[in-house]
Symmetry: C2
Subunit: 353 residues, 2 copies
């Protein structure tokens, strides 16, 4: 029932606990605390510029001598689609009017940065021991640049087909991401724009053993795990480590807004997968926007461009103490999480004192 040494050796860590990268909520201090506790701390880069990532990664490097993980999104930015953006703004216009905002005011771009040559240079310079990707993998030449640094490469699979695709392209381990997981779904072969395809996404309990039966690389379980019981269950299913995100939102090292913290503390079994905030399906606590326009909809323009038009609504609502338009990313196990430090949580998940 204990995690095999195979994955611990691969990652160079003592404990089979990976703190999930959560762009916006994970801080360098969180990653440092997790790695120093013996787990694998992860730094998300999707909301960073190259310079910001470099600074954050230097902070992590200075905080720990243990292995660290840097996570990148590997989508391609879509072509400009003015018609869909206009339709999206029309759909949101009543909310703008209600908030006293101009529905036609120019917008800042709402983006998430994909892995690119500039980020690859940061990896080459600062040499994180592990690099994980979300939404498949970047172009082969970029993956090769990462591998030549000696970094171990991980990526998420939401189906057996995705796990086989990743294994064939040389990942060192597969993160089996069940539908319970918070934040963006990692799916990249299953279409993400259709309600029907999202409805077939599988829970961790079924997904982990299927993927463990299908690939020869180690499997990391993600989704629905927030305490030691979930970790033991994941090992029983064939996982060699777990990736836990939501539980770390309750640590003092998390960067979480007041409305987000309040939602995490008060809501009851009410998360859903929505594409309204970015254009890609992601799980969060149900709020007004999700209840009224979704949770899944054909309206939002392609990832990551849907967020620009949400941002002013979010800002106005949060100023009034409401999370009506905030992406309150959380996994289905969020009510199992208990407030404690990132180091304590890492050890608690691993079952060590």
């Amino acid at each position: 029932m204990a995690a095999s040494n195979r994955l611990l050796d691969l990652l160079g860590v003592e404990l089979p606990i990976i703190q999930a990268p959560m762009a916006g909520a994970t801080t360098p201090q969180m990653a440092v605390a997790v790695s120093n506790a013996g787990g694998l701390g992860s730094l998300p880069s999707a909301l960073y510029s190259e310079a910001e990532l470099r600074a954050a990664l230097e902070t992590v490097r200075n905080g720990t001598s243990k292995p660290i993980n840097v996570n990148f999104f590997s989508h391609e930015n879509p072509p400009e689609d003015t018609a869909r953006q206009a339709a999206w703004r029309r759909a949101l216009a009543p909310y703008y009017v209600e908030a006293g905002l101009d529905p036609d005011a120019p917008l800042a771009a709402g983006g998430r940065a994909p892995f690119n040559a500039a980020f690859a240079s940061v990896v080459e310079d600062l040499r994180p021991e592990v690099v994980s990707f979300h939404f498949g993998l970047p172009a082969p030449e970029l993956v090769d640049r990462v591998k030549r640094t000696g970094a171990k490469v991980l990526s998420s699979a939401t189906t057996v087909a995705e796990a086989l695709w990743l294994e064939a392209r040389g990942v060192d381990a597969v993160i089996a991401m069940g539908v319970e997981a918070g934040g963006h779904r990692g799916n990249f072969l299953t279409p993400n724009s259709l309600v029907g395809d999202m409805s077939t996404q599988v829970g961790t309990l079924s997904l982990v053993p299927r993927i463990a039966d299908s690939v020869s690389v180690p499997v990391i379980a993600a989704g629905g795990i927030a305490d030691r019981r979930g970790v033991l269950a994941a090992f029983a299913l064939g996982a060699e480590a777990v990736q836990v995100g939501t539980a770390y939102l309750l640590t003092p090292e998390a960067s979480v807004s007041a409305v987000y913290r309040q939602a995490l503390a008060s809501a009851e079994e009410a998360t859903a997968v929505t594409n309204l905030f970015t254009g890609r399906p992601a799980r969060g606590i149900v709020n007004r926007l999700m209840a009224e326009l979704g949770p899944l909809s054909d309206l939002p323009p392609a990832f990551p461009t849907a967020g620009g038009a949400i941002a002013p609504l979010r800002k106005a609502a949060e100023a009034a103490g409401r999370g009506d338009f905030s992406p309150l990313w959380a996994g289905q196990a969020f009510r199992l999480a208990r407030p404690m430090s990132s180091a304590e949580l890492t050890r608690s998940l691993a079952g060590v004192a």
Copy 2:
């Protein structure tokens, strides 16, 4: 990690394995084989008349001296809604035309029988050791009639609120039914008619520990479990037994049509929760009707009346070897199931030779 004796003592069985009642697919022979192997065989009654249930239960009684479970749906039949039925028939009319059927031909009622006084008499006469309900519980006086026979009472919960509701009304154990489970969702406090509410249903991995933390009666895990690994995971989460359905569809004791058997053997990670076949959400393998009209839709009339208009389409398609309109109920773990006898499967799930 072993199941506590508490639930085994309560149910009077040797193995912590409950074969799920699957109306249409479970035979008396399956229930007999499971109970004789040391698990708890379950006879579903939703598609039986009183006389049919009595005959089936007598067959089970004659086949085993071990404890048996009889399962009932506890919905109330809805009032006639001719406008919604007409709209539903209009939506299905193109399929009727394509199949060479008359869209206006009179229909047989498509029903599922709820627990009632006649079924209570069967329980009083044949005294199953366990009675389980789905969709909450029937009226208190009917529950009392069951309890006075000495039967232990189980029911399914899909949320903590439902588990607390059931415990307050005296159930002996709660079945924590994760979203992975095949067939009808057991939800009864969460509305079942809205797409959004269904999207918040929780996976077994998160649900079992939450319910185990919230009630003092034993918890049975259901959903996503098809082999020994899932059983061990359920125990780690706090369950004292598991209820497994889909894996029993591959046993020789199952009554499964040719198209159904073919879908179970060939499909890949493609189940979804749909309300098209009966009017209530239920998980099955995605087929043409689900892909084209759903999987969830506001069109079907209230449970259980949606099925009448589907029946002629199903019959015609199955005659042509296609499951386009058949409810192919299956849980998300269906690809983990391996063909074997019901007795072997029961022992294999329990980890005994």
